[in-house]
């Protein structure tokens, strides 16, 4: 019975090591949202209803359009949408420099989603600094589809003031 005991202890140690390692790895590498921000596809977003409010303030000060991204962790298409479409170098640059970005987690921010008539992820809503909806992009669209929209919305908001 010594062998069984030894093997059991070895496996137990392995399991504990694995549990600890994967836990800390996730915390350091794969945090998607903390209290104030979401980090999706390598892009930093404000998050939740409070983030949206704050986002509008910044947008008004800097005259930037607001893009709200509705996502969910279980969404099969979101992860790829984030890396391929939002993470597309051209789009990412425009979003990070010229937009105020807000993320809504469909598991948590259900009320906001309802308010904007969003029932499934991924879903993008583009607004001007006052909250007027300029464009809606439902579904996991490709970068070719999104790039012109991102540019047009930006020009529209810029054009309104000058």
């Amino acid at each position: 019975m010594r062998t069984k005991k030894l093997v059991s202890i070895l496996v137990l140690v392995l399991i504990l090591a694995f549990a600890y390692f994967s836990y800390t790895t996730a915390l350091t590498n794969f945090t998607l949202s903390d209290k104030t921000n979401s980090y999706l596809g390598g892009i930093k977003f404000h998050r939740a209803a409070a983030g949206l409010e704050e986002g509008f303030q910044i947008a008004q000060q800097e005259n930037k359009p607001v893009m709200v991204y509705f996502w969910a962790i279980w969404c099969q298409y979101c992860a790829r949408f984030q890396t391929d479409t939002l993470g597309n170098p051209q789009i990412k640059k425009i979003l990070e420099e010229d937009y105020v970005l807000v993320a809504m987690d469909l598991d948590i921010d259900r009320e906001v989603a309802q308010e904007y008539g969003v029932s499934y992820p991924p879903y993008l809503v583009f607004m001007d600094p006052k909250g007027k909806i300029l464009e809606r992009v439902p579904g996991a669209v490709g970068p070719d589809y999104l790039l012109p929209i991102v540019t047009q919305v930006r020009e529209k908001v810029r054009g309104n003031t000058t």
Partner: protein, 677 residues
């Protein structure tokens, strides 16, 4: 006023309490007085629950929207079969189904044993305790809740927006994704599987308490039955995801599907432990009952995952009041199991026997059990710790850059070891041991060498995926293992199973032969599923077709990579035949397609898009060929005169389907032979 359906549940509850008291009095005080009432009370209780389920079905079929649950999951224009399956479309109904099957198994126990032995009596006590707890949960989240008791309805009546005796004219309707054949079978398979785990668990607890003989025999067929139903339920869920949800695969490590897979793994471990335990009572005398109890705990855990609102999944139901009650039950059962297991472990006399070294059948089986536990733990941990972090720190974390990577990469090495153990065990022969060890070492060597082979992109993690670059170093290291390394152990396992099958076929007496064939078939099934899973997930080719204008109907449209698509026809209809198109709750858009590769047709069929007020569903075109490669087209609904399509070429899925069928055939053969212990 209490709805009629609820009074049935209360009556069943009262009857179970009477039966429980009778059993306890008999057991502790040896008072026969109540004992005669026990069996009739249990049978009557099971009868009342059956009646309540029929009643619920009747409400669905007749469209009695005075009941909130009927209103939520049904509507007038649904075909009859979906009105019936609506009874298990939501949580309240599945609770009722769950307790119904627990009571049916309690009734079976009462009827077959008449509680004549202490083991049967005590197993019944634990079964009833579980049943009572779950009946209470069903009453809290009852399917017989009246729509007039909904807070929002009460408020609207108070404001005068609704009449006092309000009954909706039509139901809310079934979620569009649930309107298909797989939905009809998936939930009942799952919940019947959950419920039938109760007796093996109860018997295991009694054994841990009292060392009663015969516990394994009592729960044996139930455990196999659970294995079959749970396994088929999970498989059907996979088929559903593949054919309906348009995932382009059958497994996505969604928390809920993973949660139901975990008890299946430990149950598989239990079946292996039980196989040796029944031959020698001292073998796995603790591991076997613990695995049975753990499988039951994990069944409760799977139910909790769906109902707590803590786990973010495509099966989102939101948080419900019974989630925390399930957590309490899980805690109680876990503590009982741990305490009893520890006690038995400390009591167990240290067996002094000659050391037969590491290489004997029991030890290799023990390694197999541990492998099932390790694989179960990987899945358990992967869905649990993100929920834990969210609960305690308010952070939302992912387990890896891409969720599925975590499960795939950690499970991979243990899957190889499992195949090695399978190869060694099934071919185990005390006399040829040294030779067999040599073969095993050669296969181990080949597995390790092939891990380092460099290929185009046939690795544990997909190197072309955008997530690959963002995985941490250790994940990349494991992800860098070539999947070719799976094949030496897979061939070894196949060869061993085939050898064993030949041996079994030579057996003269019929019962061990049939059982042996069953065992071999189950193991072949596992190999087929693994093969199908690996091939289909590694070699799927995905082509974004974009939008094809409807105007180009009848013409081949070049979509690149040598593929062409031709739209043959487009039509719309309503799901219920009696309702004209575009006016019902469920409208289906169908596009008939032909797919060509280098100008020869490789597939054809219809891709559909279902639109309803409760959501939309994509029913992809799936054209399988004998070569095992599926042509798979997802249609996402007509938008401004264009047909948006995604084409996938998926090889090897048929192997997985075939493996699942083998699983079912094999275990049914094993169950058909009642082995004597």
């Amino acid at each position: 006023m209490i709805p009629f359906g609820d009074t049935l549940l209360y009556a069943a509850l009262a009857l179970s309490v009477i039966a429980l008291i009778g059993l306890l009095l008999k057991d502790f005080k040896n008072i026969e007085y109540f004992n005669q009432l026990v069996t009739p009370a249990i049978l009557l209780g099971a009868g009342l629950l059956t009646f309540s389920y029929i009643l619920l079905t009747y409400y669905f079929v007749t469209g009695n929207f005075a009941y909130d649950y009927v209103w939520q999951y049904s509507s007038r224009d649904l075909p009859l079969v979906y009105k019936i399956s609506g009874t298990w479309a939501g949580q309240p109904g599945t609770y009722l189904l769950w307790v119904l099957v627990i009571y049916l198994s309690a009734a079976w126990l009462a009827w077959t044993t008449k509680h004549s032995t202490a083991l049967a009596r005590r197993t019944q006590i634990i079964t009833l305790l579980t049943g009572i707890y779950l009946v209470i949960l069903t009453l809290i989240q009852t399917p017989f809740k009246l729509i007039l008791d909904r807070p929002d309805v009460i408020e609207m009546i108070a404001k005068g927006e609704l009449a006092a005796g309000f009954v909706p004219l039509d139901g809310n309707g079934l979620n569009a994704l649930l309107v298909n054949f797989w939905m009809i079978v998936h939930p009942p398979l799952m919940f019947i599987g959950y419920a039938t785990m109760t007796i093996p668990f109860a018997a295991a607890i009694v054994y841990l308490l009292t060392k009663a003989d015969g516990w394994e025999e009592l729960g044996r067929q139930w455990a196999r039955f659970t294995w079959l139903f749970l396994g088929m339920g999970i498989a059907v869920g996979g088929v559903w995801a593949y054919l309906v949800l348009g995932w382009g695969g059958f497994w996505a490590w969604d928390p809920v599907e993973t949660a139901s897979f975990i008890p299946w793994l430990t149950l598989t471990g239990f079946l292996h432990a039980a196989a040796l335990h029944r031959k020698d009572k001292s073998t796995f005398s603790i591991a076997a009952p613990i695995l049975a109890a753990v499988s039951f705990i994990l069944v409760l855990y799977a139910a909790m995952v769906v109902r707590s609102g803590l786990f973010n999944s495509v099966h989102a139901f939101g948080d419900t009041p019974t989630g925390s009650l399930l957590i309490i039950l899980i805690s109680i059962v876990s503590i009982v199991t741990i305490v009893l297991g520890m006690r038995r472990y400390l009591e167990e006399p240290d067996k002094v026997e000659e050391d037969r070294g590491f290489w004997n059948k029991i030890n290799i089986f023990y390694v197999t059990l541990l492998l099932f536990v390790v694989l179960a733990f990987i899945s358990f941990w992967g869905i649990t710790f993100p929920a834990f972090i969210q609960l305690t720190q308010g952070l939302k974390v992912n387990v890896a850059s891409d969720t599925k990577n975590f499960f795939n990469l950690w499970s991979y090495p243990f899957t190889i070891i499992l195949l090695l153990a399978l190869g060694f065990c099934l071919n185990y022969n005390e006399k040829n041991k040294e030779e067999q060890k040599k073969t095993l070492f050669i296969v181990i060597g080949l597995s390790i060498i092939t891990m380092f082979l460099r290929t185009d992109n046939f690795y544990v993690l997909d190197h072309s995926s955008p997530f690959w670059v963002r995985e941490p170093a250790i994940y990349k290291m494991i992800g860098n293992i070539s999947v070719i390394s799976l094949f030496p152990s897979m061939i070894y396992a196949t060869w061993s199973t085939a050898q064993r099958l030949i041996d079994y076929l030579r057996i003269k007496s019929i019962r061990p032969r049939i059982k042996g064939i069953g065992i071999a078939i189950v193991h072949f099934g596992m190999i087929f599923i693994l093969f199908g899973a690996v091939i289909s997930s590694n070699f799927t080719q995905s082509i974004e077709v974009g939008s094809i204008p409807l105007a180009s109907k009848g013409e081949k449209v070049d979509i690149g990579n040598g593929y062409d698509i031709k739209i043959i026809d487009f039509s719309t209809r309503s799901l219920a035949e009696s309702v004209p198109a575009a006016s019902g709750n469920y409208n289906v858009q169908s596009v008939q397609l032909e797919i060509y590769k280098d100008n020869s047709m490789i597939g054809s069929g219809t891709a559909e898009y279902l639109d309803s007020k409760t959501g939309s569903g994509t029913f992809p075109l799936v054209d399988s060929s004998i070569t095992g490669t599926d042509v798979y087209v997802i249609f996402q609904g007509l938008s401004s005169g264009s047909v948006p399509l995604t084409l996938k070429i998926i090889p090897g899925v048929n192997f997985a389907w075939f493996g699942i069928v083998l699983f079912a055939i094999g275990i049914i053969l094993i169950m058909a032979v009642r082995s004597k212990s």
